[in-house]
């Protein structure tokens, strides 16, 4: 902090609490903060909520449901931003147990949003004594919320006039709040940046201290604009401090079960990671080569699935750029996967930190595919610069790159021009313009002001102000429910189209990722098979967020003989890891859990989230429709790029005689067929989920799931035909 800032700093309020006691993974209390009233309170977790919603995101959605009305907008004072832990969160004997889940109303979708993020926040919160941190209302000036978990104190300080960008802020705050070098590892900071203030695509960065590098590292809560809510509430940062984490911190019921599961997984990772996914070498970016080889890498706004220049950003390149063998690449203690890689000493060529040599956290697959493939900028230095600045400014690399790719296609189709973009030549592959647009978005200046609204709102402006063709924009604007698609081409995977379209919060792959099981392995050929997979895996993946887990150690590593011992969908569940999860839950909470009960826990929360969408005016069938670009070829250029495949499908599956037919005629017939398939899939999935044909959970299902709270029943009754 500069001297000037210190003078401006003002203590608004403080609150003392009994440092928490964690009992079998839970503290049973939540920390509530109201920023306009400077009120800090301890509130209990209701027993009924615990029984019904398990923890983590389940709690978050339930308490947000209670806090907002159907009229609440994302930037209304009553919207909350809720940081959730979970009963398994913080276990140090098992890999991937440090995730924080964040719940809030999204500026992009207008409904409930959830994110998961690494870093040390959630375990520190829980061990300080809180299952949840719930923040409501807005401060007048920027504030820092400091939670000292050992001293049992929460302090809110007003700190006006500080640059909110993450990179320098987190270094300064770490210096300020740590007693000495050793104490830095006891801090976890949440921050965002100016991009979150000026766009709807704001993210949260959550830190941990990398002891080996002596650097503060970050992970992102990326989707749906959570960071924009954070900055709208004028939170500059949340600093959590806790020392004393150990294997007993959760006061687990049966620690031996945690040890058993942990040892089994760690052994697998050590023995197999280098021959399986190489998560320890490059992390999720290992996917890039495979997506390119199997035509699933988004290129030029999802028009194509591969590109001859993709080798320039392939996995090998990142292996060279990322510093190898870094113990600090675990985003929570004890994670043997350590996939949170970084590029050290990267020199920035643009922006406010031009010329600085910085550490870039990442890049992950999504960032590389989004900026590299989808925007057609196959340049690793560009990917790193875009990655760094999006994080620093607090903007979502997926949301920004998918939006940018859409704008590039609009530019190349003369829907927008240099006059509208104020001089930016937004052709695919124009690195200079792409970087300039990122800076403009963060500043809320120039064309960046429009770009930062996200695709749904941009489409509206282009139609209303510039007379663009609404149908074409609907076809190529890759958003659903207001959220931009993450970075996979789904044209040849009906199941993944459904996985995206029927996901509660919008088209993010954390609910479902079925592309290979469907498109390549062909293991779920019928509508019923696909519906069963969509239902099961969306529920299974939801469970991670209830208990505080990272998804990656579930199936980014698997036992050597998994595919020989198990078949089809069963193998994809990775049964031995499922068994680990049951052991972990029982080991921590003392309650036995079968694989079926695990799914039931998720089903309650998943249905509640769908009903929350209903409460906010969404949640019905029409909102599950996806742009045709996600389903099939929109343009002749796309059709011709895979003519052989499409012609064959028309003849063999649709029974359409292609002789003498124009490309346009073929596109139309294929489209009619594929759109019908998507609707049939929706029917099958709704039925399998116990929802009506309008996509609304039935009363029968709600009662069966024991989520028949009066307000829920009243709402859902309106939709029963």
């Amino acid at each position: 902090m500069s001297k000037e800032n210190k003078d401006n700093q003002k203590l608004l309020t403080s609150f003392e609490f009994e440092p928490g006691k964690v009992e079998k993974g839970y503290t049973d209390r939540r920390l509530y903060i109201n920023l306009s009233e400077n009120k800090i309170e301890e509130k209990p977790i209701d027993l009924e909520a615990k029984e019904t919603f398990t923890g983590g995101r389940g709690y978050g959605i339930w308490y947000l449901w209670n806090a907002v009305s159907s009229n609440t907008k994302w930037n209304d004072p009553e919207n909350e931003i809720i940081f959730c832990t979970g009963p398994i969160c913080g276990v140090t004997q098992y890999s991937g147990t440090g995730k924080t889940h964040v719940v809030t109303l999204s500026p992009e979708t207008g409904t409930v949003n959830d994110n998961n993020v690494g870093g040390y926040l959630a375990p520190f919160l829980k061990f300080s004594g809180w299952d949840l941190l719930e923040i409501q209302d807005k401060a007048k000036e920027d504030v820092i919320i400091f939670i000292d978990g050992n001293k049992g104190k929460v302090v809110i300080e007003e700190v006006p006039g500080i640059n909110s960008d993450t990179y320098l802020l987190i270094e300064k705050l770490t210096e300020k709040y740590a007693d000495d070098e050793k104490d830095k590892r006891n801090l976890s900071i949440v921050s965002s940046g100016r991009g979150a203030e000026n766009t709807n695509l704001g993210i949260l960065n959550v830190t941990w201290y990398d002891v080996r590098r002596k650097k503060v590292r970050i992970k992102q809560a990326g989707r749906g604009g959570t960071g924009s809510v954070f900055r709208d509430k004028k939170i500059l940062a949340i600093v959590t401090k806790y020392s004393g984490v150990n294997a007993g911190s959760n006061n687990a019921a049966y620690p031996e079960l945690l040890k058993k599961a942990g040892q089994r997984l760690t052994k697998e990772i050590s023995k197999l990671d280098h021959i399986q996914n190489g998560m320890r070498e490059t992390g999720t970016v290992n996917l890039l080569d495979h997506m390119q080889n199997y035509n699933c890498l988004p290129v030029h706004n999802f028009k194509f699935g591969s590109h001859p220049d993709a080798f320039k950003i392939e996995n090998k390149i990142w292996h060279q750029r990322m510093t190898q063998n870094q113990a600090g690449d675990s985003c929570w203690m004890g994670c043997a996967m350590r996939c949170a890689h970084a590029v050290d000493g990267f020199e920035l060529s643009t922006g406010p930190l031009k010329g600085e040599k910085v550490l870039v956290d990442g890049p992950e697959y999504e960032t590389t595919a989004g900026f590299g493939g989808n925007c057609g900028c196959f340049d690793p230095d560009f990917v790193l610069e875009a990655n760094f600045y999006c994080d620093n400014y607090g903007m979502d690399t997926i949301g920004v790159s998918t939006t940018m790719a859409f704008l590039m296609e609009c530019y190349e189709n003369n829907i927008i021009n240099k006059e509208i973009t104020e001089g930016l030549e937004l052709n695919f592959g124009n690195i200079k313009a792409a970087l300039e647009l990122i800076h403009q978005m963060a500043e809320g200046k120039g064309f960046g002001k429009i770009a930062g609204l996200g695709i749904r709102q941009i489409k509206k402006i282009l139609v209303e102000k510039y007379g663009a063709d609404a149908e074409f924009l609907q076809d190529i604007g890759m958003e659903c429910k207001g959220m931009e698609f993450s970075e996979y081409v789904t044209k040849e995977s009906l199941a993944q189209q459904g996985g995206y379209g029927m996901a509660n919060k919008g088209p993010q792959h954390d609910e479902n990722w079925l592309i290979f099981m469907d498109q390549v392995n062909n293991q779920i050929p019928t509508f019923e098979d696909k519906a069963a997979a969509i239902r099961y895996f969306s529920l299974f993946r939801t469970w991670f967020s209830l208990v505080g887990l990272c998804k990656l150690p579930w199936n980014d590593i698997e036992p050597e003989d998994n595919k020989q011992k198990y078949h089809g969908m069963e193998a994809a569940k990775v049964p031995e890891h499922l068994e680990n999860y049951c052991w972990l839950f029982e080991g921590v909470t003392g309650k036995q859990l079968t694989p079926e009960e695990l799914i039931l826990q998720s089903e309650r929360v998943h249905n509640l989230q769908r009903i929350f969408n209903l409460k906010m005016g969404f949640g019905t069938r029409e909102h599950d429709i996806i742009p045709y670009r996600a389903v099939g070829p929109v343009t002749a250029e796309e059709y011709e790029s895979r003519r052989e495949l499409y012609d064959q499908q028309l003849q063999e599956i649709v029974n359409f005689d292609i002789k003498d037919k124009t490309t346009e005629e073929k596109i139309k017939t294929l489209r009619d067929y594929r759109e019908e398939q998507y609707q049939k899939l929706c029917d099958a999935v709704y039925e399998r989920r116990g929802w009506s044909s309008n996509g609304v959970p039935t009363l029968e299902n709600i009662i069966k799931l024991k989520i028949d709270f009066p307000e829920i029943l009243e709402l859902v009754k309106k939709y029963q035909s």
């Binding site: 199997y294 990722w513 390549v520 392995n521 062909n522 698997e558 595919k563």
Partner: protein
Amino acid sequence: MIKVNGRDREWEKNLTVDLLLKKCKYSFPLIMVKVNGKYIPKEKYQNTLIMDGDDVQVIHSIAGG
């Protein structure tokens, strides 16, 4: 005609597992191959011939996003 992951594909003489994987552009390193339900270890890909009418499964162990 053979089946590869349940889909029809032209059969040709001297088609080995190795050659089939190349023709299908199945470059992913972690795959498991079964021919008529029988598991074929990697070291036998080059010598295992696929016959007309065979049912081949090529399961990719990819976790994805």
